[in-house]
Every structure is written in C-alpha cells, then in structure tokens.
Assembly symmetry: C2
Homo-oligomer: 582 residues x 2
C-alpha cells in the first residue's frame, strides 16, 4: 500500500531524506532559474499567441505538480518553444487569436494533453514515444526552430503578419515589409545581436577580466533580463511606444494564477484531440530525453511511465490556472542541473519565485517591447537548428534520410502537425518495406568448421541435393509471401534438389501469416517430392510452432543446429569437419 | 523491345504456341463457366445496388482485357461478392441507389480502382498487398460473408430494408418484418434450400444413380440455372408478380455492353479515392491468392506486378462499358480450372458467351424473382464464412487473434471499410509493439562447446566481469530506447562487471536511432569504466557501421564469434572447451 503510493507519488520517497545541504543547493538553483524563466515565459506565451502572463501562469502550478509526481530530479517543466508553436498552430484552427475563445481553447488543449499523458502513464503506454525515430525528432526540432524564428520576425520588424507555414510567413512578411517600424527594427536587431553575444561571448569576456567562472555563468544566464531592463527603460524614457509606435507588452494583470475552466464542449474536444495527442507525444519525447540525459550524469533512474503521470498532472494543472501545454524543456532543465538543483524542491522554489513575479513585477514590464521578447525567442531557437542529421543519415541509412528530409520539408511547407505525422508514418512505412524484402542468403559449410556462410561471399561446401537458405529476418505478414516466392524460384530453377533447409537463427518470430506461408511452401515442395527442413529454430519460436499442426505436417525434420542438418542430409559422417576444427 | 512488350502483354507469349487441343479444352471450360456466371453476375450486380445487366457487362470486356494483360492461365475475372458489397458501401455514400448518379459513381469507382492497380503495377508496388495479414483477410472475408447474407434477407422476405452494418440491417429487417411477402418468402426459402442441396447432395445423388462423375459435376454447376429457370417459369405461369407482388428483375436492356463515361469530377474522385484504394488492395489480394494457388498446381508462375496491370486494365474496361469494380474470383476461377481451361483464351470465350446472353437472353429473365438471385448469393457467400481462424490464432498467436477479432467485429459493426482499415492498422501496430520489446537473453558458454545459451534455460559457464546479452531482434527506432534501459538496468545492478558484449547474431538491421542509442550506451558505460563489445555482427550490418564513427568510438572490440569474445575477455585459453568438443 505504502509502496504503491510511493511509486505513484515519488515526493514521498525523496522528501523523507531531504537535508539542509540539499535545501541550500535547491534554493540557489531556483533563484538562477527564476531569473532566466521570467523573460522566457513571457516570450513563449507570445509565440503561442497568448497574453504574456499565460507564460508565467503555465510555469507555477505545473512545476509544483511535477515536483510531486515526476521522477526526474532536475527536469524543469513549463512552456517550451516547440510546444508553444504547436499550441499556436492547433488553437489557431479553432479560434481567432486575441479572443476569449482562443485562451479557452489553449486551456482545453492543456487539459486534453494532460489527460492523454496521464492515461498513457496509468496504462503504461510510454513505449508509444518509441515510434518517433531519433532522426525524425531531430528533423522536426530543426524545422520547428526555423519556423519559430521566422514567426518572430514580424515583431522585430514591427509589422502584422500571419501564417503557419514558412511560405505563408515569408509571403506575409514581404507583403508587410513597407510598413516596417524602423525604431522597433533597431531595438529588435540590437537586442538579438546583444543576446547572441551574451550567449557566445559574455562568459569568456568576463573571465578574461578576472570574474570568477561561476559568476560569469550566472551573468550569462541573466543576460536576457539585462536586455529586458534596458529596452524597457529605453521605451519608457523616450516614450517610444507613443511617439514611434513601438509595440509593447502593455498591461499585465497583477495576480497569482487565476482559477480557469477549460472549454469541454464535444466540438472543441474533438477538434483539438489529434493536436493534443501530437503535443503530448512530442512533449513527452523532449522531456524524457532531457530527463534521461541529466539522470545518467548522476547515475539516477527515470521511470518513463511515472514521467507520463508527472507531465500529465502538470498539464492538467496548467489548464486550470490560466496556462497552456507545458513540458520539460532542455534549456531550463540544463540550467537547473548546472545550477546545482538536488531535488524537485528546486522546482517548487522556482514556482514561488515566479508567483512573486506574477504578483509584484508585472507593472514593471508595461513598456517592455515585444521586439525584445522576439529576440529572446530567436536566439533560443536558432540553437535548436542543426542540419547535421541530414548528412549523418545520408551516409548511414538512406531510409532514415528520406524520413528526415520529408519531416523537415513538410514541417516547413505544411506546418508542424503535418510534418511530425508524416515523419512517423514514413518511418513506420519504410521499416515495414525493409522488413518485407528480407535478406536471405543461400549458405554452405565453411570447410573445417561447423559454420555456414553465404555461398556468394565465401568458399564453402555445398551439395547439389540440399539447398540451405538462411533467413535474416523475422517471418511475419509483410514478408510471408516473399518467402513463398523465394523458395519457389530457387527450387523450380534447380531440379536435382531433394531437400530445402530453412536456417532460422535470425528468425525471432513466425506469425500466423508466416505459418500459413510455411504450410503452403511445405505443401508445394511435397507435391514436387522435395522435403522441407528447419534448423536452429529459437526456443520461443519452437514453443509456438508446437502449438500448431505445422510440425506434424512438415515433410522433413527440425534440426537443432545447421551442422546437424548438413550431416544428416548429406549422409556424411561428422568426422572430417570436426577433425579440421581441432 | 520485343521482350519488354512480351513482359507487359503476356498474350504475345502464350498466343504464339496456341494449339487445337488447348482450343478444345478452353471452349469446353468457357461453356461451363458461362452457364455458372449468368445467374451469378446478375445476383452480384443486385448486391452492389446496380441493375442486373451491370453484372453481365462487368464480365465481358474485363475478361478480354485480363486475357491480354494477365499472367494467370486460369483466373476468371468479373464481379465477386466482397467487392460488390464494398462497391455498395462506397457508392452508397455519394449517391442514392437507383439514381443515374449511383451507376455513374460505380463506373468512376471501377476506373479509379483500375488506375490505382495499374499505377501499382507499373511502379512495382505489388508488395503493398503484403500489409494485409492472412488472419485479417480471413476475418474480413468471414465477416463480409455474414454481412452479404444478411443484406440479401430482405429479398427473401420481399421487404424494403437498408443498412451497411449488421445492426442496421437486422434492425431494419425487424422493423419491416410485418410487411413480409409470404409468396416471395416461400420462393426464396425453397430456392435457398434447393441450392444448398445442389451444392452438397446433388453430385453424390447423381453418381449413386449411375451418372458419370464428370457429368454430375457439370449438373452441380448448372444448379443455379435450374433454380432460375424453374422460379422464373413459376412466377410467369402463375402471374405471381401481379397477383402476389413478388419482386422480379423486370426489363433488362437487350444489348452488348454500352460505351459509358465515368464521372470524373474532383469531388466524386476525392470522395471515392479511399474506397477505391481499399477495393483495389482487397481485390488484388483475393485475385493473387487464387491465381497463385491454381498456378502452383500446374507449376506455373504468377508475376504479381503484371497481375496488377491485368486487373487494372480489366477495371478500367469495366468503367467504360457499364460495369463496376471486378477482380479474380475464387469460385469462378476454380470452376474454370476444374473444367480444364488451358489458357486465358477460355476467358475470352466466356466473354463471348456472356455477350450472347446479354444480347439474346435478357428478355427471358423478365419474370426472374429477385428472391432467387438472393438465394444464389446467400448459398455462395455462406461458404466463405469460416470462424476457424479465431481458434487457430487463439492457440498460435494472441496478437493475430486480436487483429482478427477486431476485424470481424468492426466489419460487422461499422462496415467493410472500417473493418479492413482497422485490421491493417492493428496488425502493423501489434507487430511494432512486439518488436519494440524484443527478447533479450543473457547467455553463457555451454561447457564443452563453442555454443552460448540463455543462462536461465541452460547450465552454462559465466564470468562475473563479463555480461553477454544476445539481442533477438533487429535494432531500430521502436526498440532503441529499450536497449538503453536494458543495459543500464543490468549494469548498475551488478558492480563487478567490466565488459558488456552484445551478441548480434539475430540483429539484421541497426538504423540511425539504434546507432545513436548504441553510442549513448557506449558513452554511459565508458563513464562507468565498463567496455562495450559486439560479437557476431552480420556482414551487411558491419558494412553500414563502418560508414559511421561508432566503431572508432567503441570502447571495446568487435568479435567475429561470441566464442572469440569469451576467450579474449575471460583471458582463458581455448584449450579446455575445444578438447571437450572432440
């Protein structure tokens, strides 16, 4: 009972042994992460098409819920770039940006996504995430980074522009180019350049000037706050929002996260279900990758199914407190880890920091230019863009290359949902295609050994009456007919054959379709006076074959080893081969 | 050039060597098949919701086109039960039965299906049919048989009823039960009983009375014609259509197949595309199974891609001559084969016979009761119903059982398209699920041999510092993460381990995702001071690994055989093991 509770509520486990040292580490990490998260949360809310406070709200209760239910000690949950973009794409289909319906749909999306994650966790369906192949994820993240950066250019230019695909965005930007607000452009470009420099150059710059590395590190993380403060003061001091029309964040309510009710009408839920599923899976994959990478560094373990429950609770929390879908982000988790967070309590302290910000600091960002937030996003997401996966897969596996290239092109050309769906479907289809035409080698005995090798690659002994085919794949419906054709081709072309041996050392499964194909092969060979034998059939496969009638009907025998088959069928004594092996 | 032409137009091949003997055999087979096909074609058109002549038209030009382009010597192409039902389901969604739009949509469906088959043939995509697993097909055929029989009950009862699912049909029948036409019911039940007796009892009955088996066989095949003649005469002689309201076939145009134009509006084509795809794949699978079974009996070969071209041409022909989708049927092909058809010319002669029937015999069927045609269908399709696949898969492979059961239930409950789609998707999903949790065995050396076996199943030698894991599955995206977890679990739990050997004898592929997982495993083990080794890696897998950087980064070695790995890592001499093997 206690054990079960502890499994589902990990805080009961680490909470009992919480020490003063861990408290200090967690508090320090929380301060650093809070400073980093304030501008980031506002910016990602903007990316999702929501008012900036939604980003803060999405970081408060979800962090606390994850701290209670999640297993990772360093994962920081909240809005992330890719999920924010997917939220904008999904909610944009059912409501107009800026309307009350839009915010409600975002809440619904969060609750739906939370419910899906929770259900996957309770039914232990974490393996579903495995169907996203690494190259498809890499391609999707790269394409999303480009899309996100492109979507922020309108804020840098200070124009209105729309679109969910790269072509739409670029076309809309070009059409609105003449309306560019030059002051906004200067602020945006300067902020972007500054933030790039902070990311790459600030730390070495400070260290060269004698600042301690640890402090230089914190300064680097606080860089975006510097950009926020300077540009806000500039816009306020020079009155740029009134005189030059610089777009600013404006009034943000000064409150703790409000209690909100997501819309749960059947129409809305059914329209958002598939997007919520995609967001859940993408969010889970991102989160679990980060959590596992960080856990491995400290030799800790992550329980993927419990992670689903933690993320599910976080998203449901986001849906009831004015947020939108959240997940474990790479950047914030890495900062949390590097800052020395020891337990999920660091997350809870971060939540308190953000709650104070939401209560007290929001009036200070009234004059914050949107261009600065856009610059924050652009600098963050461009680090996600990495085309090396194309080169890697091209050299290693063309099928994976096709899947990546399609994912990137479709994400850019048709949007995030089409892109990631196409990537998943294509990966599965290509895998099935490959296994539907398995590698089959005709093998012969390597003289002086018990080993059998491909007759095309090696000098081996063969026998005119015995054909041995080594099947390098599990036999299942997609390749069942292939096997029938193969045996038929090999045997009609070569009349002296009296025995066909299927060497099954690499056959891990024989499903019902393949069983029926084997029965058909057995029947056809029987009518031609040829016997069918099997060799090196694995334990689990044999166990299953014994439950069918196939072994009774088989014209030949089942040999434990291919060498036994060779000896029995070629009527040779085992002597010479063994002697040679001595 | 000539060779290419001969490949795509097989008639050029067998046509050159056509003999007088073959002509006689083909003519006799054609007569028998024609007699069988007349009532069957009329009945299937009724099942598809089309006027009866559509069934005749669908059997004339398509047969000739298949004879030119197809490779099977015995396959008889025309309307079949399952495809007729699927046509009714598909066309019923876009047009009202009995309207001109309905017939036009059926033509469009035939042309679309033909175009899909042709394209699949030209692009050599015949393997797509492999994704329908045998159990799913068996379940689908069984459920379709039940649906078809249920759909014909309204003709036996003489009432109006509707519905595309079993529940709808039964509900509609029950609602209309009070309107039952008793005379129609008597005719329908008598015809059904007679036809069942013809199928089971006529042949032994005649043989027992001294009739030659060959003649008894022909009599059995002509049985449905007998039922047609007797019931038609009865209705005509007693004036049952006027006095008792027995529903009859009525006026059928007396003509050769007309030239018809399918509707090709974008709306119609896009609405019918998915149904056409399903009909193509189901039709192709049925056809190729029949063709291969019959070809194997005469040791002939079928070229699946050329079959696609033959069936594609036949369907396009059906679309332009007043027909609807066709395929190679089991019953008619078996009759053709048994009747001694030697070449596709038998099909051409059958087409001539049916053309004569369409021109001359249609006035004779004016008074043919629809109940007789319904009886023909019911008796034909109930032979397709076979639930043994449920028992077989339950005993052999539970995953296949789930796929079959779902296919049957969904076909009956939601209709043919939902049923077959669910079957395909579920088969693929279950296959992926199985391979995502592969069988991995920790192995040890069988004393006195070079063989390694599961430590849980056998008494084997192990070494505390060396863990050998035999992976019984290809490594790809769906199980990449599984491998990471597995190694991590095994090695953190057992601190003395210094070497992990992955035995890859059953690994047929390592895709990019799995490569990245191996890299991650290598890195993690390295940070723990443990070396990762591979053994028994196959040629194609090694070739590919050499194209990546993995082998450079690998902390351990790649051993040709597991025994080599054991010897090297346990620092033992190979002496004792080999001596024992002598």
């Amino acid at each position: 009972m206690i054990e079960t509770l502890r499994r589902y509520v990990p805080i009961l486990d680490w909470g009992r042994t919480y020490t003063r040292d861990a408290l200090q580490s967690d508090l320090l990490a929380a301060v650093i992460v809070t400073i980093m998260l304030i501008p980031q949360s506002l910016a990602y809310a903007l990316l999702a098409g929501l008012p900036p406070e939604a980003g803060l709200y999405a970081s408060i209760l979800p962090i606390i819920l994850y701290a209670i239910f999640g297993t990772s000690r360093a994962l920081a949950v909240g809005p992330v770039a890719v999920v924010s973009l997917m939220t904008a794409a999904a909610v944009g289909q059912v409501a107009e940006q800026g309307t009350a319906g839009y915010a409600v749909a975002a809440l619904t999306l969060a609750v739906l996504s939370g419910a899906i994650l929770l259900a996957m966790g309770l039914f232990r369906l974490g393996f579903v995430a495995n169907f996203l192949s690494h190259p498809v994820i890499a391609g999707f993240i790269t394409a999303s980074g480009i899309l996100i950066a492109a979507s922020q250019l309108k804020h840098i230019l200070g124009v209105e522009a729309h679109g969910h695909t790269l072509i739409e965005m670029v076309a809309s930007l070009v059409a609105h180019l003449p309306e560019t607000n030059l002051v906004t452009l200067v602020i945006g470009v300067a902020a972007t350049a500054f933030l790039f420099w902070v990311r790459k150059g600030l730390k070495p710059f400070l260290i060269a000037r004698g600042v301690r590395p640890r402090l230089a590190d914190i300064a680097q993380k606080a860089g975006p706050v510097g950009a926020v403060v300077v540009t806000t003061l500039l816009v306020w001091g020079l009155g740029l929002s009134q005189t030059a029309g610089v777009s600013i964040v404006g009034a943000v309510p000064q409150s703790l996260p409000p209690f909100t009710l997501p819309g749960l009408s059947l129409d809305l839920v059914s329209a958002l279900f598939i997007p919520a599923l995609l967001i859940s899976v993408i969010g889970f994959v991102e989160s679990i990758s980060v959590a596992q990478t960080l856990a491995a560094k400290k030799r800790q373990r992550i329980d993927p199914d419990q992670e689903l429950i933690g993320l599910g609770a976080a998203n449901i929390g986001a849906g009831f407190t004015g947020g939108y879908p959240v997940t474990g982000g790479f950047a914030r988790s890495a900062v949390n880890f590097d800052a020395g967070a020891e337990t999920p309590a660091a997350g809870a302290f971060t939540a308190i920091g953000l709650a104070i910000a939401a209560l007290a600091l929001t009036p200070l960002i009234f004059f914050l230019p949107k261009a600065t937030l856009a610059a924050t996003i652009i600098v963050a997401v461009l680090s996600l863009v990495d085309f090396s996966i194309l080169k890697k897969t091209w050299g290693y596996a063309k099928a994976d290359f096709v899947a990546v290239a399609a994912t990137i092109l479709l994400t850019l050309g048709l949007g995030v949902e089409a892109g990631v769906s196409a990537g998943v479907i294509l990966s599965i289809a290509l895998h099935l295609y490959k296994t539907s035409k398995p590698h089959v080698a005709e093998v012969g005995l390597v003289p002086g050994t018990h080993h059998f090798r491909n007759i095309l690659r090696h000098h081996v002994k063969t026998h005119p009456e015995v054909v041995t085919l080594r099947i390098d794949e599990s036999l299942y419906f997609a390749n069942a007919r292939f096997l029938e054709d193969l045996v038929q081709d090999r045997v009609t072309a070569d009349s002296p054959v009296k025995h066909v041996v299927l060497m099954c050392s690499a056959v891990n499964e024989i499903d019902t379709s393949a069983l029926e194909s084997l029965e058909a092969v057995n029947e056809r060979l029987k009518s031609m006076g040829v016997k069918l034998h099997l060799s090196e059939v694995k334990g689990p496969v044999t166990d299953r074959l014994k439950r069918s009638h196939f072994l009774d009907e088989l014209t030949g025998e089942v040999f434990l080893s291919q060498y036994d088959a060779w000896v029995a069928l070629t009527k040779k004594t085992p002597g010479p081969a063994l002697q040679a092996a001595q």
